[in-house]
Amino acid sequence: MITFIPRDKVSKNWIIIAPILSIFFTIFFGLLIFTFLGYNPLETLYQIFVSPFSRIDRISDILVKACPLIIIGTGLMLCFKSNVWNIGAEGQFIMGALLAGFIALSFPNIETKFFLLITILAGFVGGALWAFIPAILKTKLNVNEILVSLMLVYVAMLFIDFIVRGPLRDPMSFGFPLSKPYPEGALINKIPFPGIGFLGQLHYGILFVFLLVPVSWIFVNKTLGGFKINVLGSAPQAAKFAGFKRNSITITVLLLSGGLAGVAGVIEVSANIGQLQPEVSFDYGFTAIIVAFLGRLSPVGILFAGIIIATVKLGADNAQMTMGIPKVVTGLFEGILLFFLLTGETLQKYKIKWSEGKK
């Protein structure tokens, strides 16, 4: 029988050991399941975890894939830290991309890249507005934000489908559900490296990540706003006595996370797609939930977590192409990883004691 005994203070060792052990356990159980279902475990392991590193352009593709995950994950971090459960980032991503796309397509001849500032801002507004619905319902009427934000994902998916097949469809698209191509000013270019040319799909959107990680680190660790979020999540009673307004914090974190998801949507479409289509997100909004947890709800952690999860995602794409394994299999790893990470959180606060006998 296992019993848990509270530790006097949170174990520092476990903060570092837990994620590493979690990844180890995840791989172990993942392989067990693969073997059980009749797939070659070593081949799968190679495809998912090693093949993405096999070429330099593949490594840069990891960064491209990590980019939206890190941006969304950073926003979700603020929510989860303050115990607000926004699980609708997928919808906020779509609505951000859609509003920015609408603006981009309204100026078909614009060439200056300064225009990107406007579309990115539009993406932030689009995502934030979509997150404002659960925010206002939660704070005014105490409606569960988990369910509302999730239902809005389905609504957003259907909405973009409608827009792209209807009002914004390009008449020249030969019946395909595609909008007109974005004007030059709304496109994010690939980064040219002197002497090498382009590295895979690596684009300037990555600069936003380099900006976001330090800014969010400062916000979380050095500002009053970040302090309030931390206290609210870890010691709600203390926050109450200190007079922090729960509702205004809830609204703020939802708007910020929705906005960031929207920005991720703009960057993804402007850099990799260049026009609107029914499917603009590839589960980035859901995957970012895992990224936020794997990153221990810290900005730097999320940077690394985004890269790790992006690797697995690309690896799963490779496994699908070479071994015919459906790529939703990443969910298998993400789920197990989350289970063990959460267990690690318990072990930070509690010691395990093995005792003999019944009860």
Binding site: I33, N144, L158, I290, F293, I336, F339, T346
Partner: protein
């Protein structure tokens, strides 16, 4: 008209089952957001079993077992390792999406026979509603039996009262000597069983073949139904029928070519969920006694 009502009932049964299971889990203080995942597992389990054993009734059993298996994973982590219930539930859904995608891949393109209707002697000959009420499949009867059973169980049985006590105040229940963790395990697994059967119903009756993520958010709507029903079992029937009705209305609208774009019609069940939650939650926050007080809170007491 009769066909329409029958379709609405069939559509609402997976919701009804998943919701009543979750209701019991929540009454014991466990918020399991993995309903969607448990339903998916039930669906793929049922498909696999029926393809293998060629009898739709094994699909029900396999669905129930798959759901219980998923619920056990959830219980082990949240109850024994005291992990955050919201995050673990999300994890369970993500995990099950991956697992069922993998397990379902070999099943793609295969079709299973559907669950036969059972006519109840004489009663099914009653004009007007005989066919609707007394010519249903086994799971339909079962789901009504489960609603009646849970209703009586929660209200009148000693175990039901203990279960509610555990959900309302686990600390006190523990100090009186009730095994909080064990009761929560049972309640969560019951929830898994119901969600699994609900998931199994989708391939067994609604669409007889596998497609990835075929539950299409029903698990989440079931979670909303529990709130909609204010944790009262019979109200789940009403809620499930309303949502079944909206889903079918939307399909009928598309088939008849209403002048509304199909995507906007497809949004209806999700928007209706938000509206229903909003209407009920406003009232609930004034009358807080129906929400289990320990819902979602981890129980640290030693056992």
């Amino acid at each position: 008209m009769e066909a329409l009502i029958l379709t609405i009932i069939a559509t609402s049964i997976p919701l009804l089952l998943a919701a009543i299971g979750e209701l019991i889990a929540e009454k014991s203080g466990i918020l399991n957001l993995g309903v969607e995942g448990m339903m998916l597992s039930g669906a793929v389990g049922a498909l696999g079993a029926v393809l293998w054993l060629e009898n739709p009734y094994y699909g029900i059993i396999a669905g129930a077992l798959s759901g219980v298996l998923m619920a056990s994973i959830f219980s082990a982590f949240t109850i024994n390792f005291m992990t955050n219930q919201v995050a673990t539930g999300l994890g369970l859904t993500i995990f099950a999406t991956g697992l069922t995608g993998l397990a379902g891949a070999p099943l793609v393109g295969k079709t299973i026979p559907s669950l036969p209707k059972i006519e109840i002697f004489l009663l099914s000959d009653i004009p007007l509603f005989g066919n609707i009420l007394f010519k249903q499949d086994f799971v339909a009867y079962l789901s009504i039996a489960i609603i009646i059973f849970t209703s009586l169980f929660l209200k009148y049985s000693k175990s039901g009262i203990i279960l509610r006590a555990v959900g309302d105040d686990h600390q006190s229940a523990h100090s009186v000597g009730y095994p909080v963790k064990k009761i929560r395990w049972y309640a969560t697994c019951f929830g898994g069983m119901c969600a699994g059967i609900g998931g199994a119903y989708i391939p067994l009756v609604l669409t007889p073949h596998w497609s990835e993520g075929m539950t299409a958010g029903r698990g989440w709507i079931a979670l909303a139904l529990v709130v909609f029903a204010s944790w009262i079992p019979w109200r789940i029937i009403v809620g499930a029928l309303i949502f079944g009705g909206i889903t079918i209305a939307q399909l009928v609208g598309q088939a008849r070519g209403w002048a509304i774009p199909s995507q906007l019609l497809s949004m209806m069940p999700y928007i209706a969920t938000i509206i229903a939650l909003t209407m009920i939650s406003g009232r609930l926050s004034k009358n807080n006694s129906v929400v289990p007080s320990s819902l979602g809170k981890p129980f640290f007491g030693s056992q």
